[in-house]
Symmetry: C2
Subunit: 643 residues, 2 copies
């Protein structure tokens, strides 16, 4: 149970990075990448001499003082004491002279906190426990102190005891005692520390704190407002330090980073965390390649030593390729099942649905091949897939099975001409027992649908025991060449920024900005890990004229709200770019946790509540008075509408 922690601390003593020879006296800068790590002193300044988890045969004979929680007791003879570091067996003395010690250790309820002093001794032969890192030794107790007694718990502090998430969040302080939460939070701390070493100590970045009480950004619908004591004046909690980090570049602090707290009010979206953390980075005089190399080095350096090392450089894919091959801008590249365009093969098909699709603008026919689908997917799996396509995409999906006798099994089998069949097999590399899912329609929609089905089918196959995605594999990917603008959903005649209005256009497309802005690609880049977006950034616009044009002419924004930024660009702003990594999501993937709530000490619930303290909560009108606001209670009819 606690073995991982021993590993974690042992790994700290290993050298984790490359070490280059210092070239003293040479003309080039000498660069010593010393990442030798020391073992942290875990018992300095406190009442214990050792942690429970660290004791080994090498400690035999030592007098130790331990502090910890009573994990369990066996027949009033043994007691297992726990701290964050692990478990150790304590022998409860049975002789009359130690009656008071025995009383304390036998009467304290489980999860009480005790301090014991005694000697590290060998377990009697045959009683060693090889599954326990401290299993060769036990503690012969001399004195014991009850530091705090524990009342009856709402649930047991054992990892195998399943608790509802509500209960876990309500008693978060008990949930944190479990080995998994301890591992997650400690690994997070260590990984962030290594990132800081890489940025600060190796590459001269400056850690700068930026304000979180700021001005509302244009279109900042997801920003929490914070009333001030001036009537009608509000601060806003920003979604990222974007403006500040650009202003720092103008200010000549040319390598900035911050582990930044950010806020996003996503209203009624489920699983929202109103505050989250990003590794926020900005550099001057840099291009896309520079930022990408920095991040590759950062992740390689900070990657946990108990995982397979990260290989660099990361592969790169354009947005267009990602969409065409995976139907998403964050492809999971741990497995194949890529989307294949089979339009050409079916130009002269007799299948009406496919004919129809091809006759329309952007019409295509696309397919994915599910290896051994015939073996693992049941009839009703196929039916749910088809229903999903109709319900969510208003699309038909045609399943096509290649039988062992190499004939087709499909509702449209008889319309597949031999030539088409052979073409399909070649293009999709179909094997016997595979299933091909075919859809037709507008290009983007068809790709999106198959992208979703690709992931859906992968989950299904894995649920049936197929190993499709190696759980030890971390597959990083850069996605680049995003469009700079997208048509607004509510009014496709107008454009909005695909990411944010400070993103620089792609140098090759800059002329299109004034003629066909919708065709301009950007210098934005996303970092994708195992199919999740874990970071994104861009080279920014550093020219005030260009920024004004984008804001006013293309996006029709009120430039007054950003006048401070535009002015700053006029006063000698260097070319600059940056990136932000989503730390919560990254840690979630690194630890393999099912939810980001498992890598945050005190997360909000699904509905944005703190279940432990009951926040947000009502406050009195009196308490609102200094802020010159009052609650507008919804009328009954408004409440009904809201439902």
């Amino acid at each position: 149970m606690f073995c991982w922690l021993s590993r974690l601390f042992r790994d700290l003593s290993r050298s984790t990075g490359r070490t280059t020879q210092p070239i003293w006296g040479s003309l080039s800068r000498s660069l010593i990448l010393s990442s030798q790590r020391s073992i942290p002193e875990l018992s300095s300044f406190v009442a214990r001499t050792n942690t429970c988890g660290e004791l080994r045969s090498s400690h035999l004979g030592q007098e130790v003082t331990l502090c910890g929680w009573i994990q369990y007791r066996r027949q009033n003879i043994f007691l297992v004491l726990r701290d964050f570091h692990g478990l150790v067996q304590v022998v409860i003395p049975q002789d009359e002279s130690a009656a008071s010690v025995k009383k304390i250790l036998c009467e304290a309820p489980v999860e009480s906190v005790v301090q014991v002093s005694g000697t590290v001794i060998s377990r009697p032969p045959g009683q060693e426990n090889p599954k326990m890192p401290t299993g060769e030794i036990e503690i012969k107790v001399k004195t014991a102190k009850l530091l705090n007694s524990c009342k009856k718990l709402p649930f047991e502090i054992k990892d195998f005891v399943k608790k509802t998430e509500t209960l876990r969040l309500q008693y978060r302080y008990l949930d944190l005692r479990g080995a998994q939460m301890q591992y997650n939070l400690r690994l997070r701390s260590q990984m962030v520390m290594k990132m800081r070493e890489y940025l600060c100590n190796l590459h001269g970045f400056v850690d700068i704190e930026t304000p979180t009480l700021f001005k509302r950004t244009p279109g900042g619908a997801k920003e929490f407002v914070v009333p001030s004591r001036e009537p009608g004046k509000f601060y806003s909690l920003p979604q990222s330090p974007q403006q500040f980090k650009q202003l720092l570049m103008v200010g000549g602090l040319d390598r900035y980073f911050q582990v930044a707290r950010c806020y996003r009010d996503e209203g009624s979206r489920p699983d929202r965390q109103p505050e989250f953390t990003q590794i926020d980075i900005e550099m001057s005089f840099v291009d896309q390649t520079g930022i990408q190399s920095l991040i590759e080095g950062l992740l390689q350096y900070s990657w946990p030593s108990d995982k397979d090392p990260v290989m660099v450089p990361f592969p790169s894919m354009t947005f267009a390729e990602a969409l065409a091959n995976y139907g998403t801008d964050k492809p999971d590249t741990r497995f194949g099942m890529k989307i294949v365009d089979i339009s050409d093969m079916f130009r002269n098909t007799e299948i009406g649905y496919l004919q129809d699709a091809l006759s329309k603008p952007q019409g295509t026919i696309k397919a994915i091949c599910i290896p051994e689908g015939a073996k693992y997917l049941k009839r009703n799996d196929i039916e749910s897939i088809r229903k999903f396509a109709v319900d969510h995409f208003n699309q038909e999906v045609l399943p096509v099975f290649l039988r062992a006798n190499r004939s087709w099994n499909s509702p449209v089998a008889k319309f597949i001409m031999e030539e088409q069949g052979l073409g399909l097999i070649r293009l999709l590399e179909i094997q016997e027992e595979d299933v091909v899912l075919v859809t037709a329609g507008e290009n983007k929609k068809a790709c999106s649908l198959l992208g979703k089905l690709r992931l859906e089918c992968a989950d299904l196959l894995e649920a049936r025991g197929v190993v499709l995605r190696d759980p030890a594999l971390f597959s990083f990917l850069w996605v680049v060449d995003f469009p700079l603008f997208l048509p607004k959903e509510e009014n496709p005649q107008e454009l909005e920024s695909a990411h944010h209005p400070f993103t620089a256009p792609h140098p090759s497309d800059i002329h299109l900005l004034y003629t066909e802005p919708q065709k301009v690609r950007s210098q934005h880049y996303d970092l994708v890990l195992n199919g999740s977006e874990v970071g994104g950034g861009s080279i920014r616009i550093h020219n005030a004229e260009l920024q004004r044009y984008v804001l006013a002419a293309v996006l029709k924004e009120d430039v007054k709200l950003l006048s401070h930024l535009l002015q700053a660009l006029d006063y000698g702003a260097p070319p600059h770019g940056g990136i932000a990594l989503g730390l919560d999501r990254l840690m979630c993937l690194v630890t393999g946790a099912p939810s980001i709530r498992d890598v945050i000490a005190f997360p909000k619930s699904f509905r944005g509540h703190d279940l432990m303290s009951n926040a947000p909560d009502s406050i009195t009108p009196e308490e609102l008075k200094p802020y010159h606001i009052q609650v507008s209670w919804p009328t009954d009819s408004a409440k009904k509408r809201a439902r």
Copy 2:
């Protein structure tokens, strides 16, 4: 001007901490305190090969590419280029073949951003500039690129050009280009990084982020409120992670730290920073001594290497001693002028004012001696001192001068009996030309007044050229044994917490809690540096019954608002304690900055405004709708009252 930066980076390569011999194979834990630091690579990933500030004779002949701002130009022959690291001289080519390069470099306005490539060459003999770290070399340019042009600036980017603070804050991004702000922010980043190394890498602390959207704490009048999308429900921005850090201890994360963003809405108090940063620390199984040793080690380890090293342990003083000797709980111990009780000497005085004072409860006579006061303090200084005492403390101050002929010069000189005079000289160690300030009255009030006058007179003496406080001296001090409770100002019959309700009582006074709570001392400790409070903490109550008693019986608080914390204490809470260091204040003292605004990248103005972006700002009723609040505009009469 930029010499400090060279020093800063050179210092990085020095070993800064102690190194102990690893005792391999020994039974005791081997503790390697390796704090060898490497020189950070400042030009990785970017367009430059070197920084402007790093070039020396050792770079002669190298081809370099530099990016920076045009600091100034001399007769179209030289151009001085600046980046964060320093200045370098660039020779503008004069030959016809380089006409385009000359044009770029001669036409770009000052503070424009340029990129130049060329060769590092020696300056001609006699033209070296020993005041400039790069003064032996210059750059022979081959190519130049204008990266961004600069418009006419609102002020010059030179440190000797004095700007108003309003202008500095309005164009903060320009102010940041100055050497002093660069130094302050870079030193802050480095010092925090070293603190993290000490806590994480040397002592196994875990960096844990706690939420800032939380529940209102009882009596939390200084907490900003954040409306949620649920009608009438509000989050609160906490003043510190106090509750969370205690809950982490209950959760077995027994060594926590965080560089925590905290919020405090101080309403109309001047010079408020609504958000600030603290180094927040909590440990289990620790006592006051443990926390103090930890902090002493932390400051020693992270102390800037360009300052005199910090000596440990820090001296300690009780709250009572501090009040008696310095009239404040944060004494500036860099100089003497202590308060002396001279009551006994004047028991039988004929001076009516003193007689009166002694006859009242808590009545005392106190004095401070100002060395060479007769030489440096003018008549109207003494008059303002006396006026200050009357205006702010409703107290008389009697000035007493010891003349060169050892007679007294004072309004009450003739009432000072010889014995009393000799006693005064002995007790206060009075020298000729010294001035003694005497006051009488209720003990605390008399001490507070003299405490204030002590500082006031020190400032006066220093303004007249006396060196009283060594500017290189950092005088740390622990103040301990604070009272646990204080009488409420508005109703002295009731008690409130001197610090916060989670502070543990002093073990020797615990019995008084139930009989005379006002006499109970606490286990709170403050860290004082040069007369400013830079930190404070306490051992906390870990017993639920005791905590309930303090909250309900002594403080008459509604315990329901803290039920989650009380419940947590019931479920096996370990004994624990902690501290928080005010990072902004600490950095202000370390850098010698006149205001904390000089160690914060984007501070708020005196009135809590962001002058650059104009925050807080008005927002539309539409934008408030999702939060179910509306502005209560003050009526004219209410506005008048507010004035």
